[in-house]
């Protein structure tokens, strides 16, 4: 039997619309795939999905009684992993049929729980490892390069915490950022240039930067040093934007 390839635009609503389509058309061997990864082949039938908010929200509503699972669906989507759609569709079908939303004996439910955990860890790390620099016009700017697309997940945390401070957090690997203007958080796209940023920094920035580096050293106890543990706590891939870990 022919498989059906459902091509969608890469948005979350798009994915949910695709799932709606699977149910609506009773597709039995559907394969949902993002537009940018799509490659045509002779063996499957192509269905182009047009994102439809109404259809998307019907799927979302349908999962309402499985709160934790719903979070897991959204986070798995944000993971950006290539076969995320396969697991999401498979798990949704299983959960809607059996109502067993926490059955980790099911491979896709388990896989999604694992992805959710990973992305949750990344979210926490970013809430911890974001380092702002203050600019002359009093905007606090941070650059990050997280493994997963976590900006949508961390925005609220920073908005609550820094309610009285304008800030930008820019995801360099995905070339977009969030900007908080004392009222709301907006997504922004911009080209970030290190030299421009450097020149824009507030005069005091250098001092606080140095004092933080000093503090990091003073607060460690030499006779207890444990490099391995340290590397597990602060993996090297995050060092680039941690001023206390500036690699020489």
């Amino acid at each position: 039997m022919k498989t059906q390839k459902l091509k969608y635009d890469g948005t979350f609503e798009g994915l949910l619309t695709a799932i709606f389509t699977v149910y609506e058309e009773r597709l039995s061997s559907a394969h949902i795939i993002e537009e940018r990864f799509f490659e045509p082949d002779f063996f499957s039938e192509l269905i182009t999905v047009f994102t439809d908010e109404n259809k998307a929200s019907r799927v979302w509503e349908g999962l309402k009684s499985f709160q934790q699972f719903r979070t897991s669906v959204y986070r798995s989507f944000l993971s950006g992993l290539p076969d995320k759609e396969v697991h999401i569709l498979d798990a949704i079908q299983y959960v809607l049929k059996t109502k067993n939303d926490k059955d980790y004996g099911h491979p896709s439910v388990l896989k999604m729980a694992q992805i959710t955990k990973q992305i949750g860890r990344e979210k926490h790390r970013m809430e911890a490892f974001v380092r702002f620099k203050r600019t002359k016009d009093d905007i606090y700017v941070a650059i990050i390069e997280p493994d997963f697309n976590v900006l949508p997940l961390i925005a609220k945390h920073f908005k609550n915490r820094y309610a009285d401070q304008q800030f930008v957090i820019y995801d360099r690997s995905r070339s977009y950022g969030i900007f908080y203007d004392l009222n709301s958080v907006q997504f922004i796209e911009l080209d970030f240039n290190d030299t421009v940023l450097k020149e824009a920094l507030h005069d005091e920035e250098k001092h606080y930067d140095e004092m933080w580096q000093d503090y990091f050293i003073s607060t460690g106890i030499k006779s207890r040093i444990n490099k391995k543990l340290h590397l597990r706590n602060v993996p090297k891939r995050y060092w680039k934007y941690l001023n206390e870990k500036k690699p020489l």
């Binding site: 380092r131 309610a163 005091e204 004092m211 933080w212 990091f216 607060t219 543990l229 870990k245």
Partner: protein, 420 residues
């Protein structure tokens, strides 16, 4: 601002504060409702980690390291020949705010040497917290040290601005305290603790009646004990920890392996290794008491005054109580599941959840991510094979030690050599 001078002070006063191991920034429910700065309603975040593996979540400093006392175990003691410094109140406020705005920290942990008098010192600590809350509209976390011997009125005021208050008992036995800090009276420690406890109880009662009762120390109290400075047993330490948890409703007791910082006949010599393994076993015990339903007398008693160093306290307890095992994971209640060596609470909950859908066998347990290397000797499941039924405790112990590449093995061997 003179940044050079502040930087110098920061180096001295952060260095002197680092032996206080508490860094918790959780347990407060202070929300940013005023569109001000900061929020401590969450779990508390480690923004970085020291190279010795400890969480950095607070700016942990002394207001000053001048001190009129001479406690043997402390770097800031009067007779120690070190550089002294003191922050101005505004300087601490500025540092806190500026570190916080850059997302370096969750808040401030301010302690101090005692200068002129306990009350004078406490007043200055309170002044910093007050300024942060009232002038800077700061909702981040504030942990203040309670100064031994300070007055009840000040302890009352401190709790209005601080999230947590702590006073370090340091020496678990009264006789040890007499030896190492002869000028200090055990009662001076207890008085502020008692006051804070009563204020917290009062606050909780008032809050039920009057909604806008000002918050009092929402993250409670904690204390710290030094381990390995006076020849105290693990039983001494844990029994007194239990006393602080139950009598004074402490949120946390911390255990800090003694780091020899200066020469003193009464103390372990300079260069003596920090008893990190022992410290770790004490934390594990503390955990078993608070979250796993153990009673301290099961783990430590006159037959067993010290914890095993080579195996964790739960395993040690299980090997002494083999009559209770094996446990059937498909039937046992939560309390008993929590007592299986090698199973954390997370695994316990996974099992409870998974067994709703099917009777679990070894494959199922593995699939839901249960670590089996220790647990397998103590459980049966929906599977015929249980190979370990005839093993003696000593045998099980040696199999576990052989198979687990314990992260402490290397350290253990090194420290063991020192004991011989």
């Amino acid at each position: 601002m003179n940044f050079e001078r502040i930087r110098e002070k920061l180096n001295i006063l952060a260095d002197a504060a680092k032996y206080d191991v508490s860094c918790s920034s959780s347990g407060s429910k202070r929300k940013n409702t005023t569109k001000g700065l900061g929020d401590s309603s969450g779990m508390g975040i480690c923004h970085s980690y020291t190279e010795d593996g400890r969480c950095i979540s607070l700016l942990k400093i002394l207001l000053t390291n001048h001190c009129i006392f001479d406690c043997a175990y402390c770097v800031s003691r009067k007779s120690n020949d070190i550089k002294r410094a003191g922050f101005k109140i505004q300087e601490v406020v500025d540092l806190t705010i500026n570190f916080y705005r850059r997302n370096y920290i969750e808040g401030l942990f301010l302690s101090s040497g005692i200068f002129s008098s306990p009350d004078y010192t406490m007043e200055r600590l309170i002044a910093v917290a007050k300024k942060l809350r009232l002038e800077e509209n700061f909702n981040g976390y504030i942990h203040l040290k309670s100064i031994p011997g300070c007055s009840d009125e000040l302890m009352r005021e401190a709790g209005l601005y601080a999230d947590r208050l702590s006073i370090n008992i340091e020496i678990p036995t009264v006789s040890g305290l007499k030896l190492l800090a002869p000028e200090k009276d055990h009662k001076d420690f207890i008085k502020p603790i008692e006051k804070v406890k009563n204020e917290i109880i009062q606050y909780q009662a008032d809050k039920k009646l009057i909604k806008n009762t000002p918050v009092y120390a929402p993250a409670g109290q904690s204390t710290q004990m030094i381990v390995g400075a006076t020849g105290e047993s693990d039983k001494d330490i844990m029994y007194s920890a239990v006393h602080y948890y139950s009598t004074y409703k402490m949120k946390r007791v911390y255990y800090s392996g003694y780091v020899p910082v200066l020469h003193d006949e009464r103390l372990p010599a300079l260069g003596t290794e920090v008893p990190m393994l022992r410290e770790n076993r004490l934390y594990q015990t503390d955990w078993l008491l608070r979250f796993y339903g153990f009673d301290v007398r099961e783990l430590l008693n006159n037959q067993h005054p010290n914890l095993d160093i080579d195996i964790d306290p739960k395993l040690s307890w299980a090997l002494r109580n083999m009559n209770l095992f094996p446990v059937d994971v498909n039937k046992a209640d939560k309390r008993m599941l929590a007592r299986i060596p090698g199973l954390g609470m997370l695994s316990v909950n996974k099992i409870l959840n998974a067994r709703k859908y099917r009777r679990l066998n070894w494959e199922n347990l593995k699939a839901i991510g249960i670590a089996m290397n220790r647990a397998k000797y103590f459980i049966v499941c929906d599977s015929k094979d249980w190979e370990h039924k005839d093993l003696e405790p000593a045998h099980i112990k040696s199999m576990i030690l052989q198979s687990s590449q314990s992260k402490y093995q290397k350290m253990y061997n090194k420290q063991l050599r020192l004991f011989n």
